[in-house]
């Protein structure tokens, strides 16, 4: 949990300076807040814009997924803090090329209020906005309160699908509808073994004993469903799969993409150990895995832990999932 940084206040601005300097072929800063990233090369005129926003500290989420076949623009807040409504409005303006903009972001109070406020602001610019709020974390609320769930790694699938639909030339309502369908078809659950440190707070977000883990913990250290002794990889993966499949049963003939995602410090070696179990469980259910994603797709800086996401596909979703996309962290060819 040790960090390499300068003045904590500058963490995000310095990160973005390095980020845009490293990948000018993908990203450029838009506007003068310094907190809005847009595609280096704008999408086609008349394409629906896809915009997101959220706190820093989750790379590649959110900013990293700006790129062809993915997002058009992103507003970036401080670590784990929503960007401001003004920055979001700027991002919406950057994403707009006349066909309206889908706001696609995680179900967090600050983000919702600010994106709503941003919508009020861009009404003056005559930009039509729709919204899909992502709420894939099954550990954060029961199925009957699914709209209260947190948005976690499943957001990446929603970005991919919405980006592909927009690139394919669909209109705002169609893009919004398919993004909502993707959001509804994602289920995630996470487990955390060690915390991370928000630079400006200076100490770990939570504490956890050396031999403990927390099942269901959120990506900012929000509480999970139980905390207890660290279990074996197979036991952890088994319970995570139980929780996901309880919430969204899968059976013979189902096609599903799965993401085995490190929250940061957990190395790919351990993700592969876990993936054995994921695959065995889906094989046993008769479901077919399409394009498994194993790596760091949505993180919490140096947190130790993993999340699993199941994304149940239909023909349209599978086509959009496999459509080409490109950014500094992920590409589909």
């Amino acid at each position: 949990m040790k960090k390499i940084l300068n003045n904590p206040v500058d963490y995000v601005d310095e990160m973005l300076a390095g980020f845009t300097a490293a990948h000018p072929e993908f990203y450029r800063l838009h506007g003068d807040s310094g907190r809005v990233v847009a595609r280096a090369t704008a999408g086609k005129a008349g394409k629906v814009g896809i915009v997101t926003g959220g706190g820093s500290g989750h790379l590649p989420v959110f900013t990293g997924y700006v790129g062809p076949g993915l997002l058009d623009a992103c507003a970036i807040g401080d670590v784990f803090a929503s960007p401001s409504a003004e920055q979001m409005a700027d991002a919406i303006r950057a994403a707009d090329s006349g066909a309206g903009v889908l706001r696609l972001y995680g179900n967090y109070g600050g983000d919702i209020m600010n994106f709503d406020m941003a919508g009020d602001l861009v009404e003056f610019d005559d930009i039509r906005c729709t919204t899909v709020v992502l709420a894939d974390d099954v550990a954060s609320a029961k199925p009957d309160e699914a709209d209260k769930r947190r948005g976690v790694a499943g957001m990446v699938y929603a970005f991919k699908i919405a980006g592909a639909a927009a690139d394919a030339g669909h209109d705002l309502d169609a893009v919004t509808a398919v993004a909502q369908k993707a959001a509804d078809a994602c289920r995630s659950v996470g487990v955390a073994l060690s915390p991370c440190t928000v630079p400006q707070a200076g100490k770990p977000t939570f504490t956890i004993a050396d031999d403990e883990m927390e099942m269901g913990m959120g990506i900012h250290g929000e509480p999970g469903v139980w905390r207890g002794k660290l279990r074996s990889a197979d036991a952890i993966a088994g319970e995570m799969m139980d929780r996901l499949l309880d919430d969204m049963p899968l059976g013979a003939g189902d096609r599903v993409s799965v993401m085995v995602n490190s929250l940061g410090a957990t190395p790919p070696e351990e993700l592969y150990i876990l993936y054995r179990v994921v695959k065995a469980r889906l094989d046993a259910a008769g479901a077919t895995i399409v394009m498994p994603l194993i790596g760091r797709y949505a993180t919490s800086m140096e947190m130790t832990g993993v999340s699993f996401t199941l994304f149940k596909l239909d023909e349209q979703l599978e086509t959009f999932l496999k459509a080409p996309c490109d950014c500094a962290f992920w590409s589909v060819k």
Partner: protein
């Protein structure tokens, strides 16, 4: 005695001191139930207001609008956004005026409360800053003296905080903790108690 931009500047100075002092306490309170950044939000917001305080215009509406923008620019946290929403509402009400009477304060707080409620879609009684504002609006209704008004608001904020402490949180990140939050102070209410105390000159 009516309130003017000088009073606003003085209050901003006191608020900055108070929020720097409460930095750790608010982070800790928020850390127990949320993401531990409320002290950061408040200190940054107040620092930004502090920076523009000397240049605030005499028009109270414009001045409050600038304060609101300072808040939204430094932070997009729930609390920052709600504060900005409340300030904008008050700013609209005071636009074009250089003074404001103590007797108007209750109405201004109530208007802020309603705008913030519309923005955050939370109910009253949900153990949030809305309950602080609601109590403050009620306690200051009918008062005409500035000091009396400020004191009544500060007392009401503290009383509301203690009253709601006994209820479970239903809103924001704290909601997930459910019944466990009974007995715990809502960090946003704790911040409003500190704000009201600082405005009343209690430190």
């Amino acid at each position: 005695m009516s309130l003017d931009v000088e009073a606003l500047r003085a209050a901003a100075a006191r608020l900055l001191v108070a929020m720097e002092r409460e930095f750790d306490a608010l982070n800790t309170a928020d850390g127990a139930l949320g993401d531990g950044d409320l002290g950061v939000t408040m200190a940054r917001g107040m620092r930004a207001i502090g920076e523009l305080a000397p240049a605030l215009p005499a028009d109270l509406g414009l001045a409050l609008m600038q304060c609101a923008q300072a808040f939204t620019k430094t932070s997009g946290s729930s609390y920052g956004t709600l504060m900005a929403t409340g300030l904008i509402t008050m700013a609209k009400a005071l636009k074009g005026r250089t003074t404001c009477e103590a007797s108007e304060v209750s109405g201004l707080i109530a208007a802020a409360r309603d705008a913030m409620q519309a923005r955050g879609k939370a109910e009253l009684g949900g153990k949030t800053v809305l309950d602080s504002l609601d109590a403050m609006a009620k306690a200051t209704a009918g008062l005409t003296d500035a000091a009396e008004t400020a004191n009544a608001a500060a007392d009401a904020a503290r009383a509301a905080q203690e009253e709601l402490r006994l209820k479970p949180a239903t809103i924001g990140r704290a909601r997930i903790f459910g019944e466990k939050t009974i007995g715990m102070v809502d960090p946003g209410m704790q911040a409003m108690t500190a704000i009201a105390a600082a405005i009343a000159g209690r430190g």
